[in-house]
């Protein structure tokens, strides 16, 4: 490069930095650049699947500060943020309503796999998501703790979906392979309506049911033996959820306590997640001050012998009414940037496989991290959009049924205004009623409300609707939810313990058993003196019921609502039952949070 060229680069870069100031403020934010100020630049918001947010944030920051962000139309400022692929797909079809809660309307959409674009276009009846160029790859694998993989014959014996399904359906579970101490086979699988791993595993499940590796049809999905096969696979599921990180974080947390082998036997994840886990960073995002710690029991990636599907991470510039021609040009500049060999090398650093053949596959995609760069040997064909949509419909019918107790805080603080006209309780009631539609008729759902001085046998809670199939009690649930009003204190520990115990007592091994616990406060039962003991007893109670080969897991999914909730306690409660905590500190997001919580069922 000539001296003059260097000078030009320096000048343009300095102009770009000045014009696009703001990105440095967010340099440490691993969750994206949603709050970064783009100044006068052309803003390119980018919705990306959660597993690659750290990579895209880094690339966007570098791009925004580079002279590549200077185009004829002006400077470009890219703002990636994390959005589950399936959630974004439905929002695009719906015209992306309520950006305050759902995230800004994206110009670029990068779901984990191209199949989502087909689903969007099929549902919308028009091409809102044109074909996008893949910019990195990672195959779907079945992650197993190494001892369990070895019990199945790894690494010498090829393992397929059929082997996993056979074990999942064996009433003896791991005892059939000489390991009764591991209990039944427990499958971790995300909800295919939201997560690409969940979608891809479900596709593979139907292929395994038909014996095909391509050409799956809607007629195949309707065959009785295929329905029975899929229903049996789903019966082994621990719970669902919108992102695989929930499973990986729970696995990692139980690994610390030495109980990971009884939390889950296998989880359908992307290869990249196995690498992250084994490097001690299970969710792929290192928060400030977080130090990676290698797990006691590493995971290994099983590449199913029947073939698998790839997440190809397409870079899709949307063709929707909210995307301007100027933004499309700006988005194309960023797309060109991420395809460059030096940036494709960065893709590899984050555990993905580069899509540029000039960047050879190397560490960390290596045996040392539980993965095999020479795999997979075969692929399953991505079904047509019509079949993909039908798979999602079929799954909704065949998924594992749930028994869920909704526990709703109606303490006095829920009466605080969240908007100009609605209280926190108003918004929570509306969200809870909407969420009821996500259950299927056979799911059993009940409602408790809690506060202090409620009268009755136990003044701390009231059973508003007993747990029963929602096909029968749906109207009662809706009426009771809407009838609630704010009252007194927040006996958080006591009611968590009692709701958990009630669900444990009526535990149904054929279903996902769970409590969904929403509160906006801290424990406040009128007796501060016993709070520490109460908390310790509660966590011990939850852990003892959730761990071990013969455990009867009742998951307690917690929602911290508003900015006064005791987030630390609610996280601990969720973690003690290997469930998940959800943050609705902004009450405007409660609808989305409820949707995410119910995706576990």
């Amino acid at each position: 490069m000539t001296r003059r060229r260097w000078f030009t680069v320096a000048v343009v870069a300095s102009v770009a930095v000045t014009a696009c100031a703001g990105s440095d403020d967010d340099a440490d934010d691993p969750g994206g650049l949603t709050d970064a100020d783009p100044g006068d630049c052309i803003t390119v918001d980018m919705a990306v699947s959660s597993e690659k947010i750290a990579l895209l944030t880094e690339l966007a920051e570098e791009f925004n500060d580079s002279d590549e962000a200077e185009i004829e139309e002006g400077c470009v400022f890219v703002r990636p943020y994390s959005k589950a692929s399936g959630g974004a797909a439905q929002l695009i079809v719906d015209g992306w309503p309520n950006p305050e809660a759902n995230g800004t309307r994206p110009v670029i959409w990068s779901p984990a796999a191209s199949g989502w674009a087909g689903i969007v276009n099929e549902r919308a009846g028009t091409e809102l998501a044109p074909p996008g160029t893949p910019f990195m790859l990672t195959p779907l694998v079945i992650a197993l703790p190494q001892p369990m993989a070895e019990a199945l014959g790894w690494p010498d014996t090829p393992i397929g979906f059929a082997d996993i399904v056979e074990l999942a359906n064996d009433p003896e579970g791991w005892a059939s392979l000489g390991h009764p101490e591991w209990g039944p086979f427990r499958l971790g699988k995300t909800n295919p309506n939201y997560s690409t791993s969940g979608l891809n595993f479900t596709i593979a499940e139907y292929y395994a049911a038909t014996g095909k590796t391509r050409g799956l049809t809607t007629e195949d999905l309707n065959r009785p033996e295929v329905i029975e096969f899929a229903t049996n696979v789903e019966s082994a599921v621990v719970h669902y959820g919108d992102i695989t990180m929930t499973f990986l974080n729970n696995w990692f947390a139980t690994d610390v306590r030495g109980t990971s082998l009884t939390y889950a036997s296998a989880v359908a994840v992307e290869e990249k997640s196995v690498i992250d886990y084994n490097l001690g960073n299970p969710d792929g995002v290192l928060a400030a001050g977080e130090t990676p710690r290698e797990p006691r029991v590493p995971l290994v990636a099983i590449y199913p012998s029947e073939g698998t599907l790839f997440s190809d991470n397409p870079f899709i510039i949307l063709d929707t009414e909210w995307v301007t021609p100027e933004q499309k040009v700006a988005a194309a500049a960023f797309e060109e940037y991420v395809q460059r060999p030096e940036n494709q090398a960065k893709v590899l650093e984050f555990g993905f496989r580069p899509n540029n053949p000039n960047v050879p596959l190397a560490d960390p995609v290596s045996a040392a991290n539980g993965v095999d760069p020479n795999e997979p040997r075969a692929e399953l064909e991505v079904p047509s959009p019509e079949v993909l949509v039908r798979i999602l419909d079929a799954w909704a019918e065949q998924r594992k049924e749930a028994r869920v107790l909704l526990v709703l805080d109606i303490s006095g603080s829920m009466g605080e205004l969240a908007t100009d006209s609605d209280t926190k309780l108003d918004l929570a009631k509306e969200a809870a009623v909407s969420a009821l539609d996500q259950f299927k008729d056979a799911d059993e759902v009940g409602l408790w409300v809690f506060s202090t001085d409620l009268g009755g046998d136990d003044p701390n809670y009231r059973e508003a609707v007993p747990v029963a199939p929602i096909g029968e009690n749906g109207a009662d649930l809706e009426r009771e939810i809407l009838a609630q009003f704010p009252t007194n204190g927040t006996p958080l520990y006591d009611v968590t313990s009692k709701s958990y115990a009630a669900m444990l007592e009526t535990y149904d091994p054929e279903k996902i058993n769970a409590v969904v616990f929403l509160t906006d406060g801290v424990n406040d039962d009128g007796n501060l003196g016993d709070d520490d003991d109460q908390f310790d007893d509660l966590i011990a109670q939850l852990q003892s019921g959730s761990e071990g080969a013969s455990s009867r897991p009742v998951r307690v999914f917690t929602i911290s609502y508003g900015d006064g909730a005791d987030v630390v306690t609610l996280r601990a409660i969720a973690q003690a039952t290997s469930a998940a905590h959800y943050d609705a500190s902004n009450p405007a997001t409660i609808q989305q949070v409820f949707t995410a919580v119910i995706s576990n069922f």
């Binding site: 000539t2 003059r4 060229r5 030009t8 074909p131 160029t133 893949p134 790859l137 195959p139 590796t213 391509r214 073939g307 698998t308 790839f310 060109e336 496989r353 580069p354 899509n355 540029n356 053949p357 000039n358 050879p360 997979p376 040997r377 075969a378 692929e379 064909e381 991505v382």
Partner: protein, 322 residues
């Protein structure tokens, strides 16, 4: 003394004049310029997507704009262009310039006068993992018999002596609207006939090509290059057809290259419309980049490609099969 001074003056004039000439003719031609301004194009420059990486690199090095688009898109635009003075400089692959001429002749539009500079060349090859390539050679010979390859496509590898676990033989080409995509299919077609003389309305050929296309549909269809796809995702397809140079130097241990007879080439050309001139250094930069990426120097021997008019027939027939 006066004569001596006049002689010195004349020498000085010659030296200064010579310096100016050298500066104008030599330095500028090598990419520099008297004002240090970047070289400028007096026409739009368009480049086929197959060479997108090379063209982007050249654009960055010379600080010029180069538009990247599929060969078929530029072909259609040039075929219908009313005003020849609007024709862009086109970085493309043979025989696309001849195809433009052919289409304009059919459309009774005047030919676009131009010059062509050959920049680089690479034979069309079939790339497969080493074990699959061995099985293919054993079954279909060396050079490969495309009729045999087409017959094997879609059937089990085991049937041609491969391993049953490899399942079906899945060939793949780049998209047909790309230059190398069309050349790949043309390679298969001329290979079927064994020469550049082809007949696309031959019934047996139509059946064979239709079966090949159906087998291609079972591969994950590459968005740009089949050879790039097989390198990054070898489980997606078995036989990638494209330019030999598309196989990265780092991948030669895993993959084998095979060729068909006749061996056709992808010849990179810079097409400059009459009255236009290329930015200085463009051809050299492009040639250097392509050489570094494994392209060969331009080959002067005739390229045994089907005629330009037959290339259209191949394109349309292939689109119909897909």
């Amino acid at each position: 003394m006066i004569l001596k001074r006049l002689g010195a003056l004349a020498l000085a004039v010659i030296l200064i004049g010579g310096a100016w000439i050298i500066r104008d003719r030599v330095i500028d031609d090598n990419g520099g310029s008297s004002d240090d301004d970047p070289p400028r194009a007096d026409r739009e420059i368009v480049c086929v997507s197959d060479l997108g990486e090379a063209c982007n690199a050249v654009a960055e090095a010379l600080e010029i704009e180069i538009e990247i688009e599929d060969a078929a898109t530029t072909l259609d635009a040039l075929a219908a262009l009313e005003d020849p003075s609007e024709a862009p400089i086109w970085i493309t692959i043979d025989p696309f310039p001849a195809m433009v001429d052919n289409l304009r002749e059919i459309g009774r539009l005047p030919a676009l006068a131009h010059t062509e500079t050959h920049v680089a060349s690479s034979p069309i090859a079939l790339v497969a993992l080493v074990d699959r390539a061995s099985a293919l050679t054993a079954a279909c010979g060396n050079p490969l018999n495309w009729q045999c390859v087409g017959d094997a496509a879609g059937s089990s590898w085991e049937e041609i002596g491969g391993d049953a676990s490899w399942r079906d033989v899945r060939p793949a080409f780049a998209p047909i609207d790309s230059a190398i995509g069309l050349l790949g299919v043309a390679d298969a077609v001329s290979g079927y006939f064994g020469s550049r003389q082809i007949t696309t309305n031959d019934l047996a050929f139509t059946r064979w090509a239709s079966d090949l296309a159906e087998a291609v549909l079972t591969s994950s269809r590459p968005t740009v290059s089949a050879i790039a796809t097989i390198q990054t995702r070898s489980s997606a397809l078995d036989i990638a057809v494209g330019a030999k140079a598309e196989l990265s130097a780092t991948a030669v241990d895993r993959f084998a290259l095979q060729y068909a007879d006749p061996m056709i080439r992808a010849d990179v050309v810079v097409v400059v419309p009459e009255g236009a001139s290329t930015p200085s250094g463009l051809t050299d930069e492009l040639a250097q980049f392509l050489e570094a990426r494994g392209w060969d120097s331009p080959v002067t021997e005739p390229n045994p490609l089907p005629q330009a008019s037959e290339m259209f027939a191949i394109r349309e027939a292939w689109k119909g099969f897909l």
